[in-house]
């Protein structure tokens, strides 16, 4: 895959002296969904703002589709669609007018068929003559996505697309993003919901305090840092963990009905079979076993902790 965005040594220091970005290097491949994950204030929005032309970088360079964002801002910005975090719309405008406006702003000739397709894909076609202020929050977010897609961008930035959105709408948004990727557009989304990155992304970047801590394929990341939890469902409940099981570090759960054992899938000896043998020796019967992959959340928490320890 060819790269579509190249970020090199990007720094941002605000007038207050606050360093929002401390030398970020990142390459985004065309056609992928990239999730930028990090806590609030990590520098996610600052990074997007610089790439899109809303904020100025203090140092470093960015190219989008081969165009430098400063020297050739027209080329770079034409390739980008941006959906910011805040719901900012022209409340009194009608949906279709505001989308046509965005297209014109980006220098594209009017194309009713294309705009209709975008609005239909976003389930906004029936609302096209409504004033934006009449729409619900979720619909407004869709209008902003329609505006961002109106000029046929190659890259779509979604800054916290599901912040403050209820579970059902979040599912809708994920489905929508999945459909958008089918059109070939590269998607970069920021989120502090790990679930979201896990659900959507091909690759994940973790950013904290202005530094990109890692960039990995999501599956490789899960594999690399992923631990699994084995849950043994006991035939009879027990009150305490037998001392003989101390070396596995198992914990008791499910009101004495379950034993949880965390193991590293990449390790030479996972300890699973020896644990089960030991259970047999102790005469502890079990009726079910299941294993669960640790979530990105666990991975993220451990990363941030490593950082603190270092």
């Amino acid at each position: 895959m060819a790269s579509i965005i190249e970020i090199k040594g990007l720094t941002k220091r605000y007038a207050s002296g606050f360093e929002a970005l401390k030398g970020v290097d990142l390459t985004i491949e065309e056609g992928e969904i990239f999730a930028l994950l990090g806590p609030n204030g990590a520098g996610k929005t600052t990074m997007i703002s610089i790439v899109c032309g809303i904020a100025r970088a203090t140092g470093g360079s960015v190219t989008v589709a081969g165009h430098d964002i400063v020297r050739d801002y027209r080329g770079a910005r034409t390739a980008i669609g941006l959906v910011p975090q805040e719901l900012s719309t022209d409340q009194f405008e009608r949906v279709i007018d505001t989308v046509n406006f965005s297209r014109g702003l980006f220098g594209k000739p009017r194309n009713d068929a294309y705009v209709e397709k975008v609005l239909r894909d976003l389930s906004l076609w029936d609302k096209r003559h409504s004033k934006i202020l009449e729409l619900s929050g979720g619909m407004k977010r869709r209008v902003m996505i329609a505006k961002a897609l109106s000029h046929e961008p190659r890259v779509l930035f979604l800054d916290e697309p599901t912040a403050g959105v209820d579970v059902e709408l979040r599912r809708d948004m994920w489905k929508l993003i999945g459909e958008l990727r089918q059109t070939g557009v590269t998607i970069i989304l920021t989120t502090h919901y790990i679930e979201e990155a896990e659900e959507m992304a091909d690759r994940v970047g973790v950013i904290n305090k202005g530094e990109l801590m890692l960039v990995e394929d999501k599956t490789a990341l899960m594999k690399k840092l992923g631990k699994k939890t084995l849950t043994v469902v006991l035939a009879e409940p027990i009150d305490v963990v037998p001392a003989d099981l101390a070396e596995w570090g198992v914990t008791l759960g499910g009101e004495g009905h379950e034993l949880d054992y965390i193991f590293d899938t990449q390790a030479e000896r996972t300890g699973v079979s020896s644990l089960l043998r030991k259970l047999g020796d102790l005469g502890i019967g079990y009726k079910d076993l299941n294993t669960r992959q640790s979530s990105l959340e666990d991975i993220f928490v451990s990363l941030v902790h490593q950082e603190k320890a270092a």
């Binding site: 904020a55 910005r77 900012s88 022209d90 406006f101 014109g104 702003l105 980006f106 220098g107 505006k147």
Partner: protein, 256 residues
């Protein structure tokens, strides 16, 4: 100068005019009513006692001042509001992230505001004709002057809109500075009518030169030489363009 994205200019211009259309009735009715009121009060009640100023009937004398006053207010208000609103609502993100140059942005916003200002100026001119005979000595100069005034005050309004961080700040300059300067700038009287030292003090007010110049296009004479008036208009234009250029270079209050 960077003019490539003409569609963006057209889009913003149309968007702004559309915004004006939403308030068309008040936008156009207000200047007509205000002008009529001025004629009733100044032209009728006061004018009957002070028949002529510099050999011109008083009712006709105040027409250029009235048009200028309305155009100053309209230009500043529309242009400042046009760029302040996106800042206020947050929709400015789209403008900043679009492939649009500073020059294109200014042409679109200032062009739209100046258009409305010229429409209002023309309505007042026509309304005045219902009350009084107004001769126009230099019609082309008159139109040119209106154009220059509209553009330079819209540029000024644009600066104000970028600078303002609250609705109060948006109002404070037009109401506390421009309005008094206009009243004291000879909108309704000739500077020659003032006694010293007020006459000399008045000459430090730049608005005097603007109104005087516009009055010259009507009656062929003003309080100051027409060349001097032109110098002030062009001067204002240059200053505003320089300030806007600086704002965009530094990202002043637009970019973080």
């Amino acid at each position: 100068m960077s003019l490539q994205n003409l569609r963006a200019i057209a889009s913003i211009y149309a968007f702004e005019l559309h915004r004006f259309r939403r308030t068309l009735l008040t936008g156009l009715l207000v200047p007509v009513i205000t002008t009529s009121l001025y004629f009733v009060v100044f032209g009728g009640a006061i004018g009957s006692r002070m028949t002529e100023v510099d050999g011109i009937p008083y009712a006709a004398f105040i027409v250029p001042g009235l048009i200028m006053m309305a155009m100053f207010t309209e230009s500043i208000f529309n242009a400042s509001f046009g760029i302040y609103m996106p800042k206020f609502t947050g929709t400015i993100y789209e403008l900043l992230s679009a492939p649009v140059s500073a020059t294109e942005t200014v042409i679109a916003y200032v062009g739209a505001a100046a258009t409305k200002s010229l429409i209002v100026g023309s309505i007042i001119f026509l309304t005045a004709h219902m009350f009084v005979d107004v001769p126009v000595a230099h019609p082309f100069a008159m139109v040119g002057f209106m154009l220059l005034i509209a553009v330079s005050f819209c540029l000024f309004g644009f600066i104000l809109g970028v600078w303002a961080q609250s609705f109060e700040q948006l109002q404070v300059i037009p109401l506390l500075l421009i309005m008094p300067m206009t009243f004291l700038g000879g909108a309704f009287y000739s500077v020659h009518m003032l006694a010293e030292p007020w006459r000399t003090i008045t000459l430090f007010n730049p608005i005097v030169y603007l109104i005087s110049g516009f009055r010259w296009t009507f009656f062929g004479k003003g309080d100051v030489a027409i060349g001097l008036s032109l110098l002030f208009v062009v001067g204002m234009l240059v200053v505003c363009i320089s300030v806007i250029g600086w704002m965009f270079r530094t990202g002043y209050r637009l970019k973080k």
